[in-house]
């Protein structure tokens, strides 16, 4: 307790604002009564754990200061993620410190939710459970998220103690089609493990494997390995999907078939491969496959899918030529009524091309095997409606939000006698419950999960619970069972015991330090099942009138299934494709928009046979003219200040009974009509112009060009060599007259390279920067006025003709270039902006008077001004409401109103490392300092180091032939070298 209070005082250092030194008068310092031997104020402590923001289960390391978690980073030793993390993982902290968390137990009375004592609640719940158990079997339901490992087993045991098997491992995205299709084609009801790194050619039928699909961080890492330009070669990536999303941006080619026909395309390609004798099949198997595929001629498929026959043939040739290749499906293609067929077709394609066992491997188990299917959730709802469930306990998921309205969850749920939510937030489901018991967030919990075969990854608390009165669900369940006289958990007194059960303490400690136990699991050979072609293969049906566009509903890369909607960092993170934040938009093709007479920001009523919502039009060339697309995640009616009443939930447009063969909900199953409402609002977008107008900001070159050593010319091409020489000479003489005093001493020169052929635009770096540098969240209206504070932004430019599908998307992370001849520096009247001896573009917040001249003069526009007092409690835009301020990095000043701020290559990390090295009397080594963005980058596209050290990675990379500086002709001599993207051209 007193520890907490001490921490708050210590924490004050982080919360302070830069305006003047506050008088010390009256400030009290509370030391420990007994000091902890492992905690040194001012020095961070790290705890290995597992990310639980989505079921992928990446390994994380939590950085704590004064026993407060202040940063989450990837665990380099962990097989999932390998030390990298996505934006959602970075934002786990905002779930931990969310001021809207449930802080104490509540009971619903006539007057609404009222505080109740833990014992009382446990007593009451235990009693009703006992009654339910005696009154019959399966009258108790326990709903959790995708759980694996000891806690999962415990939940089942607990449920069994109350004579029930009604266990729901509910996930909005459960990948049923993949499991079903594997069962169908190979007799294994499992999600295979994909190896993008080994693939020489990637063909994705709608799978958004760089955003949410299965294990995005790990796949991004692998994909970057293969797709990045290394050793003069790269893997070609072709995206086949009616809507081009962030993943599609990395594609070298975009094929936009009619929605639902991806499976037919896959079969057509497989048939073509077979026809050209490139198939790795033999004997009877070959004949069976041949017999089945024969009717999927390229022509027939081309007509059905609306894709040119030649394209199918070419892709087939390329796919077969590259060994091993990889075809995946999911996302849009995995969410319509023919999803299972599509998955089966893709399995077949992989099998035909001989990828199964090489880039597609089956293990005994996968974390998805036991996740409940949508079909099970529907059955559960039906049971509730039928009144055959007396007690329902929901721990984690939010079915009231993620189930389609037409599923009638709310009404059915009301029929349950006792509804208990073990929740950290008062979300839509918890709002319906009779008891809401505060759960801990993953960063405060004990647990163990199995994210991949052979991997047991531990979850351990990085700090004492933020709210004293919150308890981990498993502990509560144990207590309830004990009260109900049903001893479970083999004498375990808490979650830790459950996790530690049956392990030697030493081994456990070792595992906890590393983050888990990681064993290689042998892959299992599979053969094609005899009746692989059971299902009918044709384009799926869509509800609604035929003329209307098909609605594609896709998971938001930031908000996932909506669970991220109350985290400011994720709300403010511009969408990967549209770059819109905070709002719900509907993507409309320019032609369609012209036909409907709608423009950006128009509010339209989107109507389907099942419902109606309102959304903002975003005119977007990345969708087919006969398709409109909306993201899931917004439209909450509860949950918290950032989520409630914001945007719309497209799930309300879906038919609950629209399922595919695997019993998965078809997210892409209905056509919608758009009607103007006459209203229009400003889009909260960071986008100024979608075209770079040949200014050579984000550059790319074809593989042929790269092999020939060509580069895309920028405006600086006009500068002659003579001029360059003159400039260099002038620079040299100036430097000679500039570098006196401290500058004359030897210093490192911090520089960065960003490889655009690895960068996928996932924006994990952006959120990492928010976390590391105390960047305030400013809200929708301010973002709409271009006042977002992200020091690092992803710019997205379209290249080529966007009327069809044949255009490129260029992306570039834009942050302070730390120019050697920085235009921003000399204009500052007070030296707040100046050049440090180690080559940084220093920004001294407490010296800044706010002339904003530097920002005017920055050609890269990477300086951000504090328009409001984001750091002062009580101000209209206060961004760090208690306890969010606990997350503030004490090493970074919280900027006050009226000062300019910007990226300084995480100078606090540089100085920390330098001081550490000095005290330990050693030299800094390459890699000792890593800015937050480079640390988290799943694609490892960002490299940072000392350019004066010829051996450093950055020195070697900046010499690459693909290297260029943005706006080189301005002679700013940036410290960031971009390596231009290489785009694989046809017939690799």
């Amino acid at each position: 307790m007193e520890r907490r209070r001490f921490l708050q005082v210590a924490g004050a250092a982080g919360v302070g604002v830069a305006a003047g030194c506050s008088p010390v008068s009256g400030e009290r310092l509370l030391p420990y009564v007994n000091e902890s031997d492992q905690l040194t104020p001012g020095i961070p402590e790290y705890y290995a754990s597992t990310c639980r923001e989505c079921p992928a289960g990446c390994g994380i390391v939590v950085k704590t200061r004064e026993a407060r978690a202040i940063k989450v980073e990837g665990n380099p030793q962990h097989p999932v993620g390998r030390g990298h993390l996505c934006a959602r993982g970075q934002a786990a902290l905002q779930g931990l410190y969310d001021p809207d968390r449930v802080r104490q137990p509540y009971r619903r009375t006539a007057r609404g939710l009222e505080p109740v004592a833990w014992d009382e609640a446990i007593q009451a719940i235990g009693m009703s459970l006992g009654v339910a158990a005696t009154s019959g079997p399966d009258r108790v339901a326990l709903v959790t998220g995708a759980e694996t490992g000891p806690l999962d087993a415990f939940y089942d045991e607990w449920l069994a103690a109350f004579r029930s098997r009604r266990r729901l491992r509910y996930e909005a995205f459960a990948y049923e089609p993949l499991r079903e299709a594997s069962q169908l084609t190979f007799g294994v009801a499992a999600v295979p493990e994909y190896d993008f790194a080994a693939a020489q050619y990637v063909l994705s039928f709608g799978a958004d494997f760089l955003e949410t699909w299965l294990s995005p961080v790990e796949y991004t890492r692998q994909f970057a390995e293969a797709h990045g330009w290394r050793d003069r070669r790269m893997t070609k990536f072709v995206a086949v999907e009616p809507r081009r999303g962030l993943t599609g941006y990395s594609a070298d080619e975009w094929i936009a078939p009619k929605p639902g026909t991806e499976g037919l395309l896959a079969l057509g390609i497989a048939a073509s491969v077979l026809r050209h004798g490139k198939a790795e099949l033999s004997g009877a198997e070959a004949d069976r496959v041949h017999g089945f595929l024969s009717r999927f001629t390229s022509r027939a498929v081309a007509d059905a899918a609306g894709v040119a026959e030649s394209v199918i043939e070419r892709v087939a040739r390329e796919f077969a030529a590259a060994r091993p290749s990889l075809a995946v499906t999911g996302g849009v293609a995995g969410q319509h009524r023919a999803a299972t067929q599509t998955a089966a077709a893709v399995n077949l394609l992989n099998y035909v091309a001989g990828n199964v066992g090489r880039t597609v491997r089956y293990h005994g188990t996968s974390p998805w095997d036991r996740v409940s299917r949508y079909r099970d959730a529907v059955a559960w709802v039906a049971a509730m409606r039928a009144g055959s469930i007396d007690v329902a306990i929901v721990q984690g998921p939010n079915p009231a939000f993620t189930l389609p309205k037409s599923a009638g969850f709310a009404d059915a749920f009301k029929k349950v006698g006792l509804k208990v939510a073990l929740a950290s937030h008062l979300d839509e489901t918890a709002e319906l419950c009779d008891y809401v018991l505060p759960d801990l967030t993953p960063l405060e919990q004990w647990g163990a999960v199995e994210p991949a075969a052979g991997v047991r990854s531990y979850v351990q608390p990085a700090m004492t619970p933020v709210f004293d009165d919150a308890r981990q669900a498993a502990d509560v369940l144990l207590a309830i069972a004990a009260k109900a006289g049903k001893p479970v958990g083999r004498g375990a007194t808490g979650a830790r015991d459950l996790v530690a059960a049956g392990q030697a303490p030493a081994a456990l400690d070792h595992a906890l330090q590393r983050g888990g136990t990681f064993a290689a699991a042998p892959a299992r050979p599979v053969r094609l099942a005899p009746d692989f072609a059971r299902l009918p293969y044709q384009a799926p049906a869509f509800d609604g009138d035929a003329g209307a566009p098909v609605l594609v509903v896709y998971p938001s890369a930031a908000l996932y299934d909506g669970r991220g909607a109350n985290k400011g960092w994720l709300q403010e993170l511009p969408d990967g494709a549209t770059r819109i934040a905070w709002q719900t938009w509907i993507e409309v093709h320019p032609q369609t928009a012209a036909r409907l007479g709608v423009a950006d920001g128009d509010v339209v009523a989107v109507t389907s046979p099942h419902g109606k919502v309102e959304a903002l039009v975003y005119v977007y060339p990345g969708v087919r003219p006969d398709v409109v697309a909306m993201p899931i995640g917004q439209g909450h009616t509860a949950y918290g200040r950032n989520a409630r009443g914001r945007g719309a939930n497209p799930l309300e447009l879906l038919g609950a009974d629209a399922t595919d063969a695997s019993g998965a909900l078809a997210f892409c199953s209905t056509r919608v009509t758009l009607a103007k409402t006459g209203r229009s609002v400003r889009l909260a977008t960071t986008e100024g112009s979608p075209r770079q107008l040949g200014r050579g900001i984000a550059r790319a070159v074809s593989t042929a060009g790269a092999l020939a050593g060509r580069v895309e010319p920028g405006p600086e091409a006009a500068v002659t060599d003579a001029e360059r020489a003159a400039l260099a000479a002038a620079a040299a003489s100036q430097r000679a007259r500039a570098e006196i005093g401290v500058y004359a001493q030897p210093h490192p020169k911090w520089e960065m390279t960003i490889d655009l052929s690895r960068c996928t635009g996932c924006q994990a770096c952006v959120t990492a920067c928010y976390a590391e540098n105390n960047i305030p969240v400013v809200g929708e209206e301010q973002v709409a006025r271009h006042r977002g504070m992200a020091w690092l932004r992803l710019e997205r430019y379209f290249e080529g003709d966007t009327s069809g599908s044949d255009f490129q998307v260029r992306q570039i992370p834009m942050l302070c270039q730390q120019c050697e001849a920085a235009p921003c520096e000399p204009v500052c009247p007070v030296y707040a902006a100046y050049h440090t001896p180690d080559g940084l573009n220093g920004q001294i917040y407490n010296r800044c008077v706010g002339t904003r001249y530097c920002a005017n003069n920055c050609p890269y526009k990477v300086r951000y001004f504090n328009w409001w007092d984001y750091g002062r409690d009580g101000d209209p835009y206060f961004a760090f409401a208690e306890p969010l301020n606990w997350q503030l990095n004490p090493d970074v000043t919280v900027r006050t109103k009226g000062v300019m701020e910007k990226c300084t290559f995480c100078v606090q990390r540089i100085r920390f490392a330098q001081n550490d090295a000095k005290v330990r009397k050693r030299e800094l080594a390459d890699g000792d300092v890593t800015p937050a963005c480079a640390q988290t980058c799943p694609a490892d596209a960002i490299v940072f180091g000392d350019a004066h050290d010829p051996a450093s990675r950055v020195s070697r990379l900046k010499g690459d032939a693909r290297g260029y500086h943005v706006f080189d002709l301005l002679n700013t001599r940036p410290g960031i070298t971009y390596l231009e993207r290489v785009i694989a051209d046809g017939e690799a």
Binding site: A731, I740, Y743, E825, P826, Y834
Partner: protein
Amino acid sequence: MSAPAGVVGVFGRLDAAVEAVGSLKARGYANYRVYSPVPRPELADALAKKESPVRVFTLAGALCGTAFGFFYAIATSLDWPLITGGKPIISWPPFVVIGFETTILIGSLVTVGAMFLLAGLPKLGRAPGYDPRFSDDKFGVVAFGGPAQLAEARDLFRAAGAEEVKDV
């Protein structure tokens, strides 16, 4: 009333005043003063003063300003060298602007000061023989000296066409 210190002639006409001054000079009067509402070249010619030394102060002040401007800019830049935009610590072009402005500032202030010094301003006490009309539309010539000189001056003034002659 004690013996008069001087005699003042009030002139409504410029040429009359000029004539009076001329004859005073001709008589070798040294101690006299002329008041006028406007500076007239005729009067200046009649008085034939030598060039005002204000200009010397002006030049000195200007040079001090230049020196100060450059010195201050350079000294402060060297006191804590901070590189901005890769430019030299002592960047001449911008310092010229500073030097120029200080030249003008100090130069003009010194000039004004010099004027006050040389013209004996601010004048607190009364000026003998001064008449408020001299700031309106009359010219005044005041002669000082012994009784004999004063008597002569009276005659001169009347002869020149003084509208009024009185002792002070």
